[in-house]
């Protein structure tokens, strides 16, 4: 195995979030790769935040998108409209598919600024359901 092949493996591990890789050949030689995901790569510009951006990061979150993680039919738990206040832990709706009915719970207090689905909409994985404005 040469350095280019190792680089390809490391790049694939990073891209897909794997931190370790093991390979055992028929001749019993083996290869183990462990990536330290806490170390930021120098030069990885898109991942690297300038200090001031980093400090602002948490405080600048003003909106949260609520997205679907299953496939099924969405129904609201209670009628909701833009401007309604919602509380952390409140059940906003349900996604019902074959063999499951999942609750969509709110993870933070806030105000609904956008409703992206209607009652009875077929939703798929990653579909935006609503946007919640967080209090300042």
């Amino acid at each position: 195995m040469n350095i280019q092949e190792l680089e390809v493996i490391c790049a694939a591990m990073k891209k897909h979030g794997y931190s370790s890789f093991e390979l055992t050949n028929r001749d019993k030689t083996s290869l183990k790769i462990k990536l330290d995901t806490t170390i930021k790569e120098v030069g990885a510009c898109e991942d690297f935040l300038a200090p001031e951006e980093f400090e602002q990061d948490e405080s600048e979150v003003t909106q949260v998108e609520i997205r679907c993680e299953k496939v099924g039919t969405f129904t609201f738990a209670n009628p909701l409209k833009v401007g309604d206040s919602i509380r952390k832990g409140e059940t906003l709706g349900y996604v019902k598919g074959i063999g499951f009915k999942d609750k969509i719970n709110c993870s933070l207090d806030g105000t609904i600024s956008k409703l992206a689905v209607k009652d009875g909409t077929v939703v798929d994985y990653g579909k935006l359901l609503m946007v919640v404005d967080l209090p300042h």
């Binding site: 694939a12 496939v71 074959i98």
Partner: protein, 463 residues
């Protein structure tokens, strides 16, 4: 006829199935993972739904997600393609219980044939020759070693629920048996969620011949000729032919009759493939039955003039086969080369990446089944296939020459591909003679590497 079919797959086979559905006037629903949001099958289907992240166990293998799409999109049937859920009897059973039609065989047939040792036992009881080996799954390495000694080394340890070479180990001598047994069990558990393995005598340098069968729900089973699948690397096929240069008309009749009998034993309906090992004396042994559409089905289509996906859909719809024969006459010669993103110079290691250039060949009797296009990304989560290049000729020589012309025209940049190895193979005297066996790749690899390195040196010198 069905009005809307969900295609529970990705890549070229999803595209292939959608094309036939469109021609038949059936609406299609495609499912895709986040990694496949730009895949061709999502552009061709009438409706598309994302079913999860790139990891197959959270998307293409997620039965609740696939079924929830089928329900939400009001589909009446599900085509599983090959791989993923296609040979999962639980999936086939749940599909039917939820009120959809599974475009494939009865789940009980998948279950029986999926357990390779059960299938072997059934064949053995009905006088269909099988490779000598353990009558059932083996739990214990010591018991396995006893059986291996009885049938004689070398032996293959194979996953009971396996396929595609995974969970398979070749053991040449008794002292290696215990460690190989453990490795096969671990790999079988990881690949199929079932650690059971069985033992088979390793037939040295056989050919791998398979027979395509089709059965309807009215009790008719036909054989659509054989396919030659001997050229393999790591027990996975690289190049296939229909018919096989090793099969005479008399042997074809025997193989086809045996395959039909195997299918009839389990009241099989839908498409299926009965795989045999053929030794140098025209003795053949049942290996396994695949209860799905095969990757290499297009060569049978070219040699028979049938659309096998249409046939599969019509069978699932309860229609009769209505073919004027029990064993099909094969017309001319078809060859398929699997164009994979792999590096043949490096033991066919997968080579995921972006296709910077993709120009497919064409012309009379040239077919390219693919989901690839320029800038398409071959994702590392899935298999490395870029395209299947399939050609037809009036005879074997014409088909080989057409394949060579097509391969030379196929331009793919950005990843390594299997094209150079196919070109090499088709030019060897061994391949052209038709007299080769499963050791072809291993035997020819040194010569291929030498020629490729020499070619690279000359290209470098010319620059």
């Amino acid at each position: 006829m069905f009005s809307k079919i969900l295609v529970a797959n990705r890549g070229e086979i999803a595209v292939r199935i959608i094309r036939t559905c469109k021609r038949m006037g059936i609406k299609t629903v495609a499912v895709y993972s986040e990694a496949d949001k730009n895949a061709l099958h999502t552009r061709l289907a009438d409706e598309i739904y994302c079913i999860g992240p790139a990891r197959p166990d959270q998307s293409y293998l997620s039965i609740p997600n696939v079924l929830s799409v089928a329900e939400a999109a009001k589909c009446d049937a599900i085509h599983p393609g090959y791989g993923f859920l296609s040979e999962n009897p639980n999936f086939a059973e749940i599909v039917e219980k939820c009120g959809f039609t599974f475009i494939g065989p009865d789940f009980r047939a998948i279950e029986r044939m999926g357990q390779k040792s059960v299938a072997r036992e059934l064949m053995q009881k009905n006088n269909i020759p099988v490779v000598p080996g353990s009558p059932d799954s083996i739990e214990d390495a010591r018991e396995g070693l006893q059986i291996a000694k009885q049938v004689g080394f070398p032996v293959l340890i194979k996953a009971t629920s396996g396929g595609g070479g995974k969970g398979m180990r070749l053991v040449e001598k008794p002292e290696d048996f215990a460690s190989m047994f453990d490795m096969a069990k671990v790999e079988a558990q990881a690949s199929f969620g079932d650690s059971r393995v069985y033992i088979e005598k390793f037939i040295t340098n056989p050919r791998h011949i398979e027979v395509q069968i089709a059965g309807d729900t009215h009790g008719t089973v036909v054989a659509l000729g054989e396919r030659e699948c001997t050229i393999q690397r790591r027990h996975q096929k690289l190049l296939e032919e229909c018919p096989s240069p090793a099969v005479s008309p008399a042997l074809r009749k025997k193989l086809c009759e045996t395959a039909i009998r195997a299918a009839e034993l389990i009241n099989y309906y839908s498409l299926g493939t009965v795989e045999f090992l053929l030794d140098g004396n025209d003795n053949f042994y049942f290996m396994e039955m695949n209860t799905r559409l095969q990757v290499e089905h297009p060569i049978t289509e070219l040699a028979t003039g049938l659309d096998l996906v249409e046939m599969q859909i019509r069978i699932a719809n309860g229609e009769k086969l209505n073919l004027p024969y029990k064993i099909a006459d094969l017309k001319g010669w078809a060859i398929e080369c699997r164009i994979n993103a792999e590096s043949p110079l490096n033991s066919f290691a997968p080579y995921p990446g972006t296709l910077e250039t993709y120009i497919a060949p064409g012309g009379p009797w040239v077919r390219v089944d693919s989901s690839a296009y320029q800038e398409y990304e071959i994702a590392p989560e899935y298999d490395s296939m870029i395209a299947k290049l399939i050609v037809w000729g009036n005879n074997r020589e014409e088909a080989i020459n057409r394949m060579l012309t097509s391969l030379s025209e196929f331009t793919i940049k950005g990843v390594d591909t299997t094209i150079p190895f196919h070109e090499y193979t088709l030019n060897t005297d061994t391949f052209r003679s038709g007299n080769f066996n499963t050791s072809f790749v291993a035997q020819h690899m040194p010569d291929f590497l030498m020629k490729e390195h020499r070619k690279q040196d000359m290209e470098a010198a010319a620059e």
